[in-house]
């Protein structure tokens, strides 16, 4: 048990070391990378580091849910589509009478609370739909979430009649563009979400239940855990978190884009989880690791932009990184490392 703990620990340490290494490279190549300025007029901190954390908000929030989905041995590939759905419904409720105000501005038809709550409810229900298919009907996670991944963008398009709505409504724009305590508001949302999820998972038995179901669903059922309920809760939570990410995303761009909102988010979220040291085969998971993983992804993306490399070729960099990580995580390599460590320890004991 103890050796497992240390491996688990070292995975998180590796992630942190990787992040620091990338930052050091960035700092050497571009000393102004770490500069943080305080803007008096907007009352906000500016700088690459702040920007990285700010921009990683959506992936971090989704990856919180994804961590537990993966810990259960599943995957949720519908999150990107749910981001689009949340944006589309939020903007749908932010419509105004075009004949009265011809240009986008600070007005809304429905009360603001509806604009926030309805998309979140819809996303939560979609998450529940995934959860019921996987938990109750025992469908394969990939295929169950594939349904909403395909249909979700269609629903988002139909909600907005295939148009790209824009909005100038200040409270809504505040979600993605505003600031509080000198920090961009998405960072505040991320901190709150992460704190709530972590307290829920680690201060109650829920996290242990998830790990147990992920390691052996049958054994967990026999010991009296309601596996299907736990699976449903986790997928519902992921749907809800995708909804929050969708609101942040659409608020950032003050509009909705059903085609491109959340595109490849499922891949980024999975990557963040894997980088954070949670194994794709399920079982133990680390939420802190996931946060670091998400920040690593964003740091690399920012760096790539910063040094003027074409944005689409980020994919190749990401591929290289995942390749290294999954090869290290893979079973045969893990076994090889374990035997080597054991041999070293033995040798140490003999000599010591």
């Amino acid at each position: 048990m103890k050796s497992k703990e240390s491996i688990f620990k070292s995975k998180l340490t590796w992630a942190v070391i990787a992040e620091l290494l990338i930052l050091v490279i960035a700092g050497i190549l571009e000393p102004s990378f770490f500069k943080i300025e305080y803007n008096q007029t907007t009352g906000m901190l500016y700088g690459s580091i702040i920007d990285i954390i700010n921009r990683s908000a959506e992936i971090t929030i989704i990856a919180m849910g994804m961590t537990m989905v993966i810990a259960l041995g599943g995957t949720d590939i519908s999150v990107g589509a749910l981001v689009a759905v949340a944006g589309a419904f939020a903007l749908k409720f932010l419509r105004w009478d075009v004949t009265v105000y011809p240009t986008p501005g600070d007005y809304t038809v429905y009360p603001f609370i509806l604009v926030i709550v309805v998309p979140l409810i819809i996303c939560t229900l979609m998450g529940l739909f995934n959860g019921v298919l996987i938990g109750k009907f025992k469908l394969q996670p990939i295929i169950a979430t594939l349904i909403l991944m395909v249909a979700g963008r269609g629903i988002a398009q139909i909600a907005t009649n295939g148009k790209q709505f824009t909005t100038g409504y200040t409270p809504f724009r505040f979600i993605g563009q505003g600031s509080m305590l000198g920090l961009p508001f998405p960072i505040i949302i991320t901190i709150v979400v992460c704190a709530v999820v972590m307290i829920f998972v680690r201060k109650t038995a829920f996290g242990t239940f998830v790990e147990s179901v992920g390691i052996n669903p049958n054994a967990s059922r026999v010991t009296g855990l309601k596996s299907d309920k736990i699976i449903m809760i986790v997928y519902t939570l992921t749907g809800f978190l995708s909804g929050i990410a969708g609101l942040i995303y659409s608020s950032r761009i003050s509009s909705c884009d059903s085609n491109n909102a959340g595109l490849n988010y499922e891949m980024d979220a999975i990557l963040a989880v894997v980088l954070g040291g949670t194994s794709m085969t399920g079982g133990k998971f680390s939420l802190t690791g996931t946060i670091v993983g998400s920040i690593i992804i964003r740091t690399i993306t920012t760096l790539v932009y910063y040094f003027g490399i074409t944005s689409e070729s980020i994919m190749a960099f990401k591929a290289a990184i995942i390749l290294v990580v999954i090869v290290i995580q893979s079973e045969p390599v893990g076994k090889w490392l374990a035997t080597r460590n054991a041999r070293k320890q033995k040798a140490g004991e003999l000599h010591g």
Binding site: L139, I143, L146, A151, Q157, E312, A316, L323, I326, P332
Partner: protein, 354 residues
């Protein structure tokens, strides 16, 4: 005698192995007849409409042949669309900018695709990495390389490619004067459709008639038992991913003949079209069950929905996505029911969980 025959027929229909394929064919026919009744006067029943179903979806079908095999082994391949896009990029960049002979570009693309497929197969087989993650890496890699070659869409400017893309077989009929004339409205099939049909036939042959095909089913049915039986599990899995690489490259060639350009973001999300076509065609994602005929009709079924929406004219084209999603749901639900009920009937330890 008669009763025996009808019994055999009922057994054939209710056999879970064939039920899914029959359901796909049935639903396709139902939708097609529905279209014929409602939009018959607009020309839905014309041969042209039917031929266009093939012409517009041939590249998905070609890729679905390889995907069917991967899914039968219990794996999944997310890289197909990215590899197809990379193939298109190789052809566009090679022929138009570097002035290389198109066949050389195609051969190069095929070699690269097969190598990538084998590499992903090795990751799945020997490093025991889940297929989802291994092929996700392949997808990122292919898309990244695509973008490194060019960020902009390159339109192909090559006589041979034009010739290949323009090659068509027209459906003819005898007119009153005894001459062969093109039927109206003009209906044709092109090289892509020929490739699609040939690949489906090759796929069927491999799966049903060769030792390799038997191994594919055995590995998907139960990898452990296949290994204990002494079947070459590792080699089979590698070859399946390699074959899928070949199919992706051929799909990329078909796509570049279809749109005559290479673009780094082409076919984004195409892998899901291919997977859902196979699933609608009755291929079981947990492995071991699936037929090429099913995939063939799965592709057609996926193709006929947008056609119907186009004929309707008032519905948003996005309904196509929602209906596809609903169809996938219907089929996985059906699979689940069929599998659990057949497992119950046998009462044996045959029920497998993957």
């Amino acid at each position: 005698m008669d009763k025996k025959k009808s019994n055999r027929f009922i057994n054939f229909i209710t056999n879970p192995k064939y039920l899914m394929v029959l359901a796909t064919i049935g639903i396709f026919l139902a939708i097609y007849i529905f279209g014929a009744v409602v939009y018959g006067n607009k020309g839905f029943t014309k041969l042209r409409t039917f031929a266009m179903l093939f012409v517009d979806n041939a590249y998905i079908g070609i890729s679905a042949v390889g995907m069917t095999m991967v899914l039968i082994t219990g794996g999944i391949d997310l890289s197909v669309a990215a590899v197809a896009s990379l193939t298109g990029m190789f052809i566009a960049y090679g022929t138009t900018i570097l002035n290389i002979h198109p066949f050389v570009c195609m051969a190069f693309a095929i070699v690269v695709a097969i190598a990538l497929g084998l590499a992903m197969g090795a990751m799945v087989t020997y490093l025991k990495i889940p297929p989802f993650v291994a092929t996700l890496t392949g997808m990122f890699l292919a898309r990244g390389v695509c973008s490194l070659i060019s960020r902009d869409s390159i339109s192909i400017d090559n006589d041979l490619i034009d010739k290949l893309a323009g090659w068509k077989i027209y459906f003819m009929k005898l007119n009153d004067a005894g001459e062969w004339v093109k039927i109206k409205p003009v209906a044709y099939i092109n090289l892509n459709v020929v490739m699609f049909i040939v690949m489906i036939l090759i796929g069927t042959y491999i799966l049903q008639k060769t030792r390799f095909g038997r191994n594919v089913y055995a590995v998907g049915g139960n990898e452990q038992s296949a290994r204990l039986m002494g079947l070459p599990v590792d080699r089979t899995k590698m070859m399946v991913y390699g074959f899928n690489g070949l199919c992706s490259a051929l799909a990329g060639i078909a796509y570049s003949l279809y749109v005559k350009s290479g673009w780094n973001l082409a076919l984004q999300g195409g892998e899901l079209d291919v997977i859902s076509a196979a699933v609608i065609g009755g291929v079981l994602l947990s492995g071991g069950v699936g037929y090429m005929v099913g995939t063939f009709f799965g592709v057609l079924l996926k193709a006929v929905i947008p056609a119907l929406i186009t004929f309707n004219g008032t519905l948003s084209s996005w309904w196509g996505k929602i209906i596809t999603g609903a169809l996938v749901l219907l089929f996985v639900a059906l699979q689940q029911i069929v599998m659990t009920s057949s497992g119950r009937k046998k009462k044996g330890p045959k029920k497998k969980e993957t």
